[in-house]
Each structure stands twice: as C-alpha cells, then as structure tokens.
Symmetry: D2
Subunit: 366 residues, 4 copies
C-alpha cells in the first residue's frame, strides 16, 4: 500500500517536530510537505533545524531535504496538493488566534483537510474537537461543516488542550459506564515542553514551580464540555456538566502532565473497585479499529502507591496511554485519583495523528 502524503504546518516548532518524528515510521502517512514562518521559507528542513531540533528521535527519510514553504502561502499547499504531495495537513501553527483562524479556513476552503493542534478553532461550533476514544461520533459534524461553508473535500477538525488528556478519558469512561459526574477539582503539574521552544526560561523553573499558565485553566475547565457535547442544529452544543475547577502549575519536568483529581458522582456512586474495573476494561473505537497510533489499552492502572510519575509513565504504549493511580475515596467528594499523559504525544502530535487515522478510517481523507 502506498502511503498517503501529508503536510505539516508549523513544522519547525515543538509540536511540529513531534509530528515529524512520529510520522517517520508511520504505516499510513508520510510527510512530503513542510511549512513554517516566512523567515524559514526556502530553507531545507535539515538546514532550518540545525540547533533547533529538540528530540532524540529522528525524522523520516527524505524529510531533511524537503524545502520549507511559507505557511501563509496557501497557494503553495494547493500546488503541492495538485502534485500529489499532500492529501491533508496537520496544523501545529503558532501565531495569533486570528491568523490561525483564517489560515486553517483558507486551506480547508481549497480542499485540503486540516487536522489541527491549535486552539483557534476549538470553539468554532461546527468544528469537532476530537479525542478519538471519547467522541469519535463528533466527526458527523464534518459533512455539515462542509455543506454550510461550501467546502468540498476540505474541513477542519481540532484536538483539545494537552492539559485535559490526563483526566478526560477516565472521566468519559465513567460516564460511559453509566455514572454521572457532577463536579471535578483538578490541579495539574505540567511539563515545560507544553510551552513550546524556547518557552519557559530555565531561570523560572529550576528549583521552582510557577503556579500559573496563561489561559490554561479556562481550557481545562471548558473544553471537556464541548467534547461531551451533542450535535444539534448543525453545531456541537456543549454539555453543561460536569462543573470543573482547575488549577494549573508549571513544574520542572520535560514531558508529561500530571493531574490530581477529586470527583463527585451523581446519585449513583461506584466503589473504588468498580472504578478500577471500568478503567482497566475501557476501550474505544480506535482500539476496535486497531488504528496504528492507538494504545492497546487507553487507560493503564498502576497499583504502586506512588505512581503515576511523569518520567516513568509518560512513554507507556507509544506515549499514547493515560496512566492512572492513587485511586481512593475523597473526604469531600467521592473519588480521588492521579492521571498522567505525555503532553506532546498523547496531548498533541500523537493525538492529532490518531485523529487523522480515525478520519481516514471513516473515509474523510479520501
């Protein structure tokens, strides 16, 4: 089988690099098009990345020789598309919101599907915000989106913020098992890679904690509601529960976001053992379809009293599994636990690729 050619917008940033690295050995997709800011346009990817490539992993064959295009030049993407060098793009654009909104729409309007990691379109009502194991049915909004906007093959699908990955799937597994969840207190301890590169200055984080990440608490509190929402009248109507209070901290960890969670059920309350069974047994559509990037088991339980830990658990199952531990009662709400996921893989590029695999399986990528 011939691989599907794909493009990466924002290919030189942290998430862009992670896309490039993860796609190096992908069985379905191969990177044939890279675009970034104008100042890098015209350079080979290899040349542009001297001193900027942050990963231990390598890029795939041929990627170093690709010439970076200016991501603002949609025409370049269209031309590549016509030449068979890209079927769709992963967007890891880093620019102001307005710019991303317009650029992603321009690509889609030109027939190029955009699978985005950027936050700009997360609250656009006809754009699905996908976690492949949680709301794969939200892809049903795509034909509606295309029709309303007069787009043919192009569309926009986004993924949520990295900070919610450590509790969103366990939350959903409980809902799916029939337990209502009313309220959640969440405190995150987030890795520095979440801020991109150069990102967090070392003077701010060595021997230190920063108890604030701009915009992150709002995202952590609100994005789950859209993911749990319902398609109605041509748009995704957010759910109204659970109510979430999030406190987001930056800690001196390279990769891996940890979330300490307290959770209040509705009237029906499972026991700790039932919760463990629900999580261990949880499986979603990506597992059913055996998608390449899907973890075998989306939720891994560690019984040791002091796990999960970012350095030891972030890479579980291709860094795509969420690891859970310290499941115990809460003196105020019902249940407490700790969740952990790899923020630039499960929470960014890996999650985006899994979304693309899901969309491909459903026929949205030709």
């Amino acid at each position: 089988m011939q691989k599907i050619p794909v493009g990466v917008l924002g290919a030189t940033g942290m998430v862009g690099q992670q896309y490039i690295a993860l796609l190096a050995q992908h069985p379905w997709f191969e990177v044939r098009y890279v675009a970034a800011s104008p100042r890098n346009a015209g350079k080979s990817y290899r040349h542009a990345m001297v001193g900027r490539w942050q990963l231990a992993a390598a890029w795939g064959p041929g990627v170093g020789d690709l010439i970076l295009e200016d991501a603002n030049e949609v025409a370049a993407g269209v031309s590549a598309s016509q030449q068979g060098r890209l079927r769709f793009v992963f967007s890891a654009l880093e620019m102001e919101k307005e710019g991303i909104l317009k650029l992603e729409e321009a690509y889609a309007a030109q027939g190029i599907p955009v699978i985005s990691n950027a936050s700009a379109h997360r609250w656009t009502p006809d754009v699905p915000m996908l976690i492949a194991e949680v709301n794969p049915l939200h892809t049903d909004i795509i034909p509606i989106q295309q029709k309303a906007r007069g787009w043919n093959q192009g569309f926009i699908a986004v993924k949520p913020n990295c900070s919610i990955q450590s509790y969103m799937t366990p939350l959903y597994a409980l809902l799916k098992a029939g337990y209502e969840v009313n309220r959640l207190f969440i405190t995150t301890l987030q890795a520095v890679s979440g801020a991109g590169y150069p990102g967090v200055p070392s003077l701010d984080i060595i021997d230190n904690v920063v108890p604030y990440i701009g915009g992150e608490e709002d995202k952590s509190e609100l994005e789950p509601l859209k993911i749990l929402g319902t398609i109605r009248n041509g748009q995704i109507e957010p759910a109204v529960t659970p109510k979430i209070s999030a406190h987001c901290n930056r800690v001196p960890v390279v990769n891996g976001h940890t979330a300490c969670v307290s959770l209040e059920f509705g009237a029906k309350k499972p026991s700790v053992e039932e919760v463990k069974a629900i999580w261990t047994g949880f499986s979603g559509l990506p597992q059913e379809l055996d998608l390449p990037m899907a973890p075998k088991q989306p939720l891994i339980l560690r019984e040791e009293v002091n796990r999960p830990q970012p350095r030891k658990d972030r890479d579980a199952d291709k860094a795509m599994a969420v690891t859970l531990g310290r499941i115990r009662p809460c003196p105020i709400f019902d249940l407490r636990f700790v969740g952990l996921s790899h923020n630039t893989i499960r929470g960014a590029a890996g999650g985006g690729i899994l979304n693309a695999e899901l969309l491909k399986s459903k026929g949205y990528l030709g």
Copy 2:
C-alpha cells in the same frame, strides 16, 4: 542580657541543622547542648558534620566544638541542665514514633521543657500543637499537662506538619475576621528538603514528580482541626470544621511548599477584595510581642499573576512569612488561592524557635 542555653535533640538531621543555623545569631537563645543517635555520640559536632552539613548558613560560635551526646541518654541532658548548659530542648528527633513519645516524656519528666518538631506527640490530647500566630492560647494547656503528669518545670509543646503552614494561617485569618469556612480542597507541591537527608533519591525526582508522600495527606487534613480546637476538660478538643481534602506531591524543589487551595465559605462570603484586606492586615501575638523570629507581616500578598513561587518567595521575611497570590473566585467553591512557605524554616525549625519565644514571653521557660 545573658542568653538562655538550649539543647537540640536530633542535631545532625536536616531540621536539627536548621535549628543550629537559625540559632547562630539568636538574641535570646544559644545552643550549648547537642544530642543525636548513639553512633555519633562522643564526636564533636564539627567532626560529625563533615560531609553532612547541608546548609549555606554557618553554625554559631562554639557549636562546632560541642560534643554530641546520645539523645537516648536523658541523664546526659539532666546533667547538662544542672550545669546550666540547657534550660530547654528543641526536639528534631528522627526515630520510630514510640521512641520519640517516650524520650520526649522522659526529658519533660526530668524538668526539661521539650519544644518539638516531631509528629509523635501531635495528637496527645494535653500537648499543644502551636502556630504562634494562630493558637497561642493553647499554651494554657501546659499547666494542666504538668499537673496531670506530675511534672514540675518540664512540659511538651509541638508544632504541626510543614505541609499545613502554607494555608493554615490564611485560613485562620479568615475565621478570625468572622467568616466560616466549611470545606477546603488542597493540592500541595512539596520540596525535597521535607523528607530530610538523604531523603528523596535524585533518580526519583529529577525530571519527575512523585504524587505521594507517606502520611502527609492525613496530617494535612487533620492537624488544622486540633489547632483550631478548644481546651475542654483538660485536653484540646479538635474542631470539626473545615473538612479538608489534601493531595500531596513531591516536586523537584529544594525548599518551599506550595499549596493550591479552593475554599468554601459558610453563609457569609467575603469578596476577593475583602479577603485581600483581611490577609494583608492580619497580625498575631508574635507580632504584638515583637518576637525576634516573628515576621513583621505574617501574610504577604503578591499581585503578579504568577506568584508565589518557591525559589523567589520562600525566603520572605527571614523565611517566616507565608506568601499568597492568585486570589480569585472558584467555579465550584468560593475562593481560590496559592500559598507558599519555607518548609524547613517557617514549617520546622523557625516555627519551633518562634514557639519557644512565645513560651518564653509567657513565662513557661523560666
């Protein structure tokens, strides 16, 4: 004025060292007696500390030449007391609970007041657990304790766990201002020095977080209740509110415990501005008495969006102030904030010294 001679039990451990360092220039007290485990007994303090002294600060004149006694040999302390080399002892003992219970009682029974940092006696009903700004009146239990046990000058007073210092005084300030607090969600990000030396292995904490500290969550949830308790029938009866849910994490920070707090008021709810005014204006007995170790202002407010931070705020006002920030509404409870205090100074040796100053001022130390 001649300084009061004091002893330090457990003088070679982390908290013991911090006592020695802080007392180096104390205007009232001077260290004349040091005791530790049998294996160090007979060595000079200087000799025993080669390669073990962890602090940048130095010990006081003469301390290096003191000969370490075996802390288990209460007779040595009594003899030193008779020779005028100690009026009371700071206990920073590190051993199993039963051993500390007995040893501290033995010293007290021999007429030597014990001002302890250890957790063993925290729940002994006639032993006060003091934060000098919060419950100085709990010293009233001391004559009752002495009478019930047939002790003359000796007594035991303890201080609470380091993890609660970052939220206990702000909580108390609100209560004192007339606002009931029903419930508190707390997530701590605690420094490695809290685990003593050697303590946390570097392999467990570089590029990592450990979402568990043995026993710490219980202490964080329960100790505030005793501190807010009432002396009744010869013992301190713990308060029944607020209800606390604590999640305690170890992070790669040398000193300084951070607490992310969500707080639910009773019927009467102050505005954010009122809370700020209460905290900025808060002052306690140590401030009134102008005790040497007392911070001028017990609660410091930082208005920057990303403070407090351990490395930048832990040393505020001799490392004895609690620094507060990010005061804002909570979508579930009423109020959220971040508190920070220096765990081995405000939360351990400095707090113990402040307690001793309080007790001296009240006449309990002769």
Copy 3:
C-alpha cells in the same frame, strides 16, 4: 533457534534492572534466573520490584514470576545450570570488593561463565576488561585463565567503568589509525544513575554540582591502560601511555555521561578533518559480526556547535553509540572534543550484553 538461558546476579539494583529490561527482547539470550541479596531471596521478581523498578521499559515475559535466589548461594546457580536454566551469568553485584571477588570466582569455578559489570576483578591480571569494539582480542586470555585456575567452562570477563566509555573508543580509533596519543585531560559530567539507587540524594544535586565521585578519577585514569594492554606471560600487561588526568563531577542529569577532553598526539598529528574522518569511519569486530546489541556506527559525529548533549544524544542507536562533537584544536594540547555515552546502557548493561554476544560468537559460551 532456541534462546540461551542466562542469569542475572544483583538483579534488583539499577544495573541489574537495566540488564533485565535490555534482555526482554534479546534475540539470543533470555533471563531465566535472577539472584540478589538474601533479604529478597524467595520473593518473586515482580513482588521484589514493587516500588523499586526505575525504568520506563518493561521486563520480558516470565521474568516477573521468577523467584529471586540468594546470590551468595552459588549452589543455587549450579543447580539452575544443571536444569538448563542458565548457561552463564551477568554479574551486577553490589557489595564490598572481597565478596564480589570470591563470589564471581566461585561461579566460574563451578563451570558458570561470569560476565561482570562489577569493578572487583578489573585488575585481576588474567581477567579481560572488554570493550567489544576496542580489545576483542583480549578474550584470548580466557583459555589461559581457565587453565591456570583449573576451570573448565567457567571464566570471568569484565567490562570497564562507565566513565571511560565516552572517550575510550574515540581514543582507540585514533591509535588504530596510527596516531600516538601521549596525554589526555578529561573532565567528566556524570549522570546520577551511575550511583545506583537510592544513590545520590536529591538535596545534593538539585540546583547543584558535586565535584567529586569516590574512586572514579582513578578508574578513569587507569582502566584505559589495561584495555590497551598486551597479553604476555599469561596476563594482560597494561599499556604505559597515554597518561590521563581525570576530574569527575556529578551533575543533575538522569542518564548520560559527558566528557570534555583535551588530547596530545605524538609526533604525527592528524588534522581536525582527519580526526573526523577516522571517527566517522571507525568500525570494530561487533559491527563486522553484526552483533545484535552493536551500534551500526560506534562513533557518531554531531556538527552542531552545542552537541552532544545527554538528554538529546544518550539514546543514539539503542543507547550504544558514543556521540562526539565540538572537535577543535586545543591551545595547549592538540585536539579538544566532547564525548557522550549512556552510562547504564553503553557503560553498563548494554556493554555487558555486547561482551556476551562477542564471547558467544567466539565460542566461549558453548
């Protein structure tokens, strides 16, 4: 092909764990026997490792159920050998030198080859200290060792200290290319995993450097001489050059030892470009034999001005390659460079496995 059963002595320590993890998917060997200190004997490996397993990687099938033997009980190993559960052992013993000397000899005397990571036998004159790419011919001492000691199939082969791996192979490549090297100044920046677990206390290394590692400078200066030595009169006679001055530091890095090297050639001096060509082109017997653990290219050159770096380069080629960079003239000696290798893989368990593969290929393991 059926896999060769092997044992790991010291299976619960850091290097032991790394052996277990690396052998999980090894094409030739499988772990069927694990031994450690008496206090763990009788427990399943899974049980003994609760809260002690430090690695992200997992152990192989069946290993969790193996019952730990007491490594001091050589008879248990002999019995396992007779039952076909071990053909040879990897020694990652951590105990005092005398104990290791005797234990490793006892296993060998009983017909069990010992491939050791311990330092005890490194200076035993008839024991080869092997880096598979550098001195594979030193295996010729094995028949002499066996004959002199009256051993049949058993023998002892060791590997050198982790600190020398970052400069030993580049040094050898230059010698092999015909350039004498007279003197070397080396400063190492070593990872905490080199000290085992619990190893370096976090209080000693967060926001800190420790400019001393016990015994490490002697090993770094002397072990290269034995590796470059000659078999003569039934023993390995160390070389007399190059003279090495080593300064060893511990830095806050999890894995990966960095070495800053200045090197003085003899009369014949290659240019910087010649040195680069020698290193890029270097290949040894493991590469020729295509051994499973051998890196394709033993020495990797990075041209970026700020590489190699431990976090980004330590895992190069299964963490078995040495990465080199900053190759430039020295104002005092002739050449300067920075070398980096993974200390618990290339420098410990991975190097030991590669030695075993070499010995197997040469017929020493039956």
Copy 4:
C-alpha cells in the same frame, strides 16, 4: 555621611537587577537613576519590573518610584548628573558591541564615570579590566585614558567575564607568592543565570548539559592575560603567560560557576600544603581598605572531599568569596583544584560595586 547618588544603565536585565538589589543597603552608594531600553522608558521601575524581577532580595527605598530613562539618551544622564542625582553609572547594558562601545564613551565624555560589566570595552587598551584584589594598580591607567581622550572626570573601567572569577584570584595569589604558572587546563560548569533572562530555555537544560557557551572559552582563555598585564606606553600590555585551555559547559544550576582546574608551575613548585597556606593567607587591597563589599577572606578553603558546591558555597561571605577545594596533585601538570564563585554577584554586580568602592577610595569618583 550622605550617600553618593549612582545610576544603573541596563537596570531591568539580570545583572542590572542584581546591582539594584545589592545597592539597596549599601553604606556609600544609593541608586537614584535607572535607565534601560527605549521600550521601558517612562515607566516607573516598579511598573516595568512586574513579572520580570527575578530575585528574592528587594530593591532599596525609593527605587520602585524612579522613572526609567532611555539609556541611549546620554543627555538624560547628564541632566541627572547636573541635578545631583548621579555621580557615576554602573553599566549593565545588553546590546550589540558597537552600541555599548559608543554609549559608554559618550557618558564618560560627558563627565560621568562608567563602571561597566559589559564586555565591549574589555580589550580597549587604555581601559582597565579590574578584579579589585588582583590588579588594583591598573587604575593608574585612568588619568592616562582621560588625558588621551580629553575627558575631565569621566572614564571607563570594566570588570572581566564571570567565568574567570573562580580561578583568577587563586591563580594570582600563587603568582604573588612567587610561583610562576605556565599553563592551565580549565573546564567550567556554569549556571544559567550567566545567560541573563530569558536566557537558557528550560527545554535545553532540565536533565541536560550544554557543552558550549558562545564566546565564553575565548574570554576564559584571554582575559586573565590582560588582568595580569603591565601599563606601558599609555596602555595595558597583556601578559603572555599562563597559556590557558578552557572548556565551558552550561549546567542546570541557578547561580554559581564551578571550575575544574589543572595547573602547571614553572621551575619552582610549591607543595599542596604551601598552596593551601598561600590561598588561606591571601588578602588584597580591598581587604586592607576594608571596603564594604569586600569579603573578609577572598579565598576560602573547604577541606571536605566533595566541596565546593554551587548551592552550598556560592553565597559565602556576601557571595563575594571564591571557595576552593579538592586541592591535589595532577598526574600530568602539577596541581588540581576546584574553584567556585557566584557569577551574578562576585562575577558581575558585586564585583562591579567592589570596583566602584576601590575607585572611590582612590579618589576617582570625586
């Protein structure tokens, strides 16, 4: 005594902040004028520093209310000088070399002495590069500088790079004691604060080492020669020995540069004990004059085998002492040791203030 009013150019950067903090309680000088880049001009210092102030220490009374001037507007400085708000300026300018060269000259030409931390003028032949304990006599070039340039009271004096402070004074102490030093191998392990703010990205340094700092090796090798130079024909003629080879690394340490040094004496070679006596007994003009910022003992010896260490020794004697340890023979050269100094205090702002005190004592500051 009324304090001398001073200005700080580059007052918002890391070194500028350190100047402001150290001068908060200075007995001779007080900050009355602050200048920085045009984008901050017109803001109060307090306002400009919200979220940028990196230090635990506070600024002095009145400093928060000072209005930042544009450092490029020399006229503003002249006007402040005429109003008695500044007698001289500390330059902590961060801009390209040409800009600093011209600006510092412009201030000096207008009668305002410039005591600079910038590197721009370090190799200007008639500008002294001062370490107050080492070459205080180089201030004799100042009248020559003034005369040659037609300046009245203004002049420029600089201090050397932070990286050399950990070995320059010990080197000088040996020379002063009559021992020639021919050659030095130096490897530095430098703190992130040396790169300013935002400086080193955390993604580059957590769990990592960067074996390169742009321009630092040249400075480390060459600046000592000017400091040891001789005033001849109206300029400072650099010394020709010792020859230095420096390798500079960035490590995950907040403050404190460590240097591992090997040193070759001339024909006359002191014993290790003599070296220790020379260093312990060393004292310079700042000590003789009892200058406020001068450490009592410029060189402190630690006998513990694993010291000095940055976190434990950087703050020795107001962070102005150099701490030495691990003094031992070298297998190649004669002597090895480890030196440590605080890079933003001894190596930057503190060293600059000490230079100002020296110049004031000599009458150069009116």
